[in-house]
Amino acid sequence: MTRTVKRTLKLLLTAAGLVVVYFLFDRLTHTGFQFHYALGWLLFACLLFLVCFNWRKKLNFLPIGKAAVWAQIHYYLGLFALGLLLLHIDTVWPNGWFERLLFVSLMISLFSGVIGLLASRIYPPVLVKRGPQVIYERIPRYRREVRQQVENLLTDTVRETKRTSLADFYEAKLEPFLLSQQNFLHHAIDSPRPAHFWRREFQAIRNYLSEGEQEALDQIEQLVQRKINLDLNAALYQIMRYWLLIHIPFSYLTLVLAMTHGIQIEQYS
């Protein structure tokens, strides 16, 4: 069975689950069963289970199932929870400030999750395609190495050619680029603009250089390519890692707010 078929089946199952819950709870309403109240607690149970995934990752020394299976359950249960939420609020913007806070918190946690999921599906193949891939923690070191190599090349070229055009170009344009991570947003959408930009810059300066300088420029161009690739790796890894900094705190916040909301309802009903 291909991944697409499996994914379609899981989506269908999630939708079927929602339909079953809807009709079951609706039918029970005639017997005095409180539809929204029950949905609320079911939603809370789902949220609780969703948060457990985070704990599963910390307790990976316990035989509690593969993380990949948990992840799949997490994705589809998240979707199921969104369906439950829409049923629970009757697809209407909540009216109390507390309920709105809860709703917004839940939405942030949900959409940050979706962004994380999309990033984890879209970016790895991009990194393979753009290769070579590097270990995230080593990027600052590689970046320093690139800058060092460019500077060594420049020193040698200036010494040999007695001309400073390349060094001026470095100081004016290249140095700021090589010093730190650049073009985060361009890389986030896998845009070729940084590469195009530097190609143009190199073309423009090439006409004013001597033969010896042009040779050095070829090598610098390759090093700039490497730097662009390092920036791409850094940007994509940062997104793939740091979305969790939003997702996890908001998931816990949602859980606490949902519990408070539940207790309030219990008290007033």
Partner: protein
């Protein structure tokens, strides 16, 4: 509160700090030296010169036996070694007799369990892990407190008459002075037969390092082991292959007598891992059937001005059967090899000449038995399935085909979250046993993690036997007996063993008498004694990491889909 900053000091670990058995006494060794085969290992004494030499050899053998061997007693029908298990020891028969059995039903053998920690013990250990990496209890390195590895004793062969009756040939018997288990021990391969005691039997079990040292010390012993090794391994090797299972005894014997050994390259192939040596060229006259005994060879097909790798051959694979059978059945295509083969570093083969096969093998084969062994039809065009062929080239060229538990990472799925690395560290002294980085072919990365090789060359030079195979085949390191000499790390062609400086539970480095840090070799042990095994694969939320046997092409294809 003042912090205790005194470093922990221990004696630098040495070879033989931990004898194989604390119970092996000098008088037992002295009495063994009066028996065969040890008597013949010592050169005969005569004049003062030879006397001194004999004394020196005797002294060395004594040391080896004292530190590398132990005496074991077995009852009638007790299982000594099981076919298919890994073992790093050989056995000398001191008294009694043993019987050699092939293909005994597993249920009759009472197989051992992996030495798994209980869940509670595991959880306790993880939770009490000091926060610094590589912390150890220095007490464990105290030679006085050495604990002996226990042999799983008391497994008896069930229903002996039925098992004996099911044997195709009469079981071989061995008696005092003879040695067995040396093939598996020396060639780092699985036991090729099951051995049981046929009466009350006493054995001297010797670690393979001890056996290797004995072979170095005594030339006559070396020659006799070589001879026995050739005879026994040939017969048992043929018997382990389906192709030869239905032969009558006379035909099998004729094949054993007429077989030739072909060895290409050095046995310790890690020193020449990149070399390939042609064994057969495509188009050569098909004069013999070749069976791989150990090592690896790549099977190639000419294309244009070059050639490409179709597949590789490993232990037990047969080459040239199509062609030989073609010739036997009178087909025109049957007289030249359709592919070439080249040894990858080192290859050990059995060559059965065509005339011998025509007379003693082919007439006894049944049609369906032939089908199983005929080389798979090969594509004539490498461009037909370019990715598959290039992937095969990558695995073969980099020698990854040796891996039985290779860590593959599908980079199209890996997000670099490092959950796998953290899971490994949690299970292993707060320090991961692999690096999530390695050689890459398109979206497939072979990470730097021990592959638990079919031929683990890292084990070759270990002076203490600390690096060994567990009963289930994982290559593991005994931290207590590792002396940190780095031989294994230098021998691993894949750079998958790391030396670490160890600390005590307070986080201070453990030092020797000269205040130098104590090193230990570490590597992936496949979480062999943990309830969650392997932790890396279990922890990956994106199913991007798998431990795979590279021989299992289908499983790899399935996962990559």
């Amino acid at each position: 509160m003042t912090e205790d900053n005194t470093p922990t000091q221990i004696k630098r670990p040495k070879k033989w700090d931990h004898a194989f058995s604390a119970e092996m006494a000098p008088d037992q060794v002295a009495s063994l030296l009066e028996r065969e085969p040890f008597v013949s290992m010592v050169p005969p004494s005569g004049d003062s010169g030879t006397d001194a030499k004999a004394e020196k050899v005797r002294g060395k053998i004594q040391d080896i036996l004292l530190n590398e061997s132990r005496l074991l007693n077995f009852e009638k029908d007790e299982v000594i070694v099981r076919q298919g298990d890994y073992g790093a020891t050989a056995y000398f028969i001191v008294s009694g007799n043993v019987s050699v059995l092939f293909n005994v039903d597993k249920s009759a053998l009472g197989r051992g369990q992996a030495p798994q920690k209980s869940l509670w013990a595991h959880v306790k250990r993880v939770l009490s892990n000091p926060s610094t990496p590589e912390a150890r209890d220095p007490e464990q390195y105290d030679p006085a407190g050495a604990t002996e590895e226990r042999l799983q004793q008391g497994v008896f062969l069930q229903d002996v008459p039925r098992v004996i009756a099911a044997q195709k040939y009469d079981p071989d018997e061995m008696g005092p002075g003879e040695i067995f288990g040396e093939i598996g021990a020396l060639s780092r391969s699985i036991r090729s037969a099951t051995i049981i005691a046929t009466c009350k039997t006493q054995l001297l079990e010797i670690k393979w390092q001890g056996l290797r040292d004995l072979l170095q010390v005594s030339k006559p012993f070396r020659e006799s082991v070589d001879r026995v090794y050739r005879e026994r391994s040939l017969r048992s090797h043929l018997l382990s292959l389906d192709l030869f299972q239905k032969l009558p005894e006379s035909a099998l014997q004729a094949l054993v007598d007429g077989a030739e050994f072909v060895s290409v390259g050095k046995r310790d192939w890690n020193t020449n891992a990149g070399d390939t040596t042609p064994i057969v060229n495509e188009g050569d006259y098909a004069s013999a059937l070749l069976i791989l005994r150990s090592g690896f060879a790549k099977k190639t097909k000419a294309y244009g001005h070059s050639e490409y790798t179709i597949s590789y051959l490993s232990k037990g694979d047969v080459f040239g059967l199509d062609e030989m059978l073609g010739a036997y059945q009178g087909a025109n295509t049957g007289n030249s090899y359709q592919n070439g083969i080249a040894a990858l570093g080192y290859t050990d083969m059995i060559s059965l000449p065509g005339s011998l096969c025509d007379k003693h093998l082919f007439p006894h084969l049944e049609a369906e038995a032939l089908g199983v062994h005929i080389n798979k039809p090969t594509s004539g065009d490498p461009l037909e399935d370019t990715k598959k062929n290039q992937l095969m080239d990558f695995f073969v060229d980099e020698r990854f085909i040796n891996g039985t538990e290779t860590m593959l990472i599908n980079l199209d799925r890996c997000t670099g979250c490092d959950d796998c690395v953290r899971a490994c560290a949690t299970n292993h002294d707060n320090n991961p046993r692999f690096i999530r980085h390695g050689k890459q072919f398109e979206n497939i990365m072979v990470a730097n993690a021990c592959m638990h090789c079919a031929d683990p060359v890292c084990m070759i030079g270990c002076p203490t036997g600390a690096i060994h195979r567990s009963e289930n085949g994982e290559v593991v390191i005994n931290d207590t007996t590792c002396i940190g000499c780095q031989t294994c790390a230098n021998s691993c062609p894949y750079d998958n063993i790391r030396m670490v400086e160890i600390r005590d539970q307070k986080g201070h480095y453990i030092l020797d008498e000269q205040m130098r840090p104590i090193n230990k070799a570490t590597k992936c042990d496949l979480c062999y004694d943990n309830p969650v095994s392997p932790a890396c694969q279990n922890a990956c939320p994106h199913d991007a990491l798998r431990r795979v046997n590279l021989a299992d092409e289908e499983a790899i294809k399935d996962w990559l889909k």
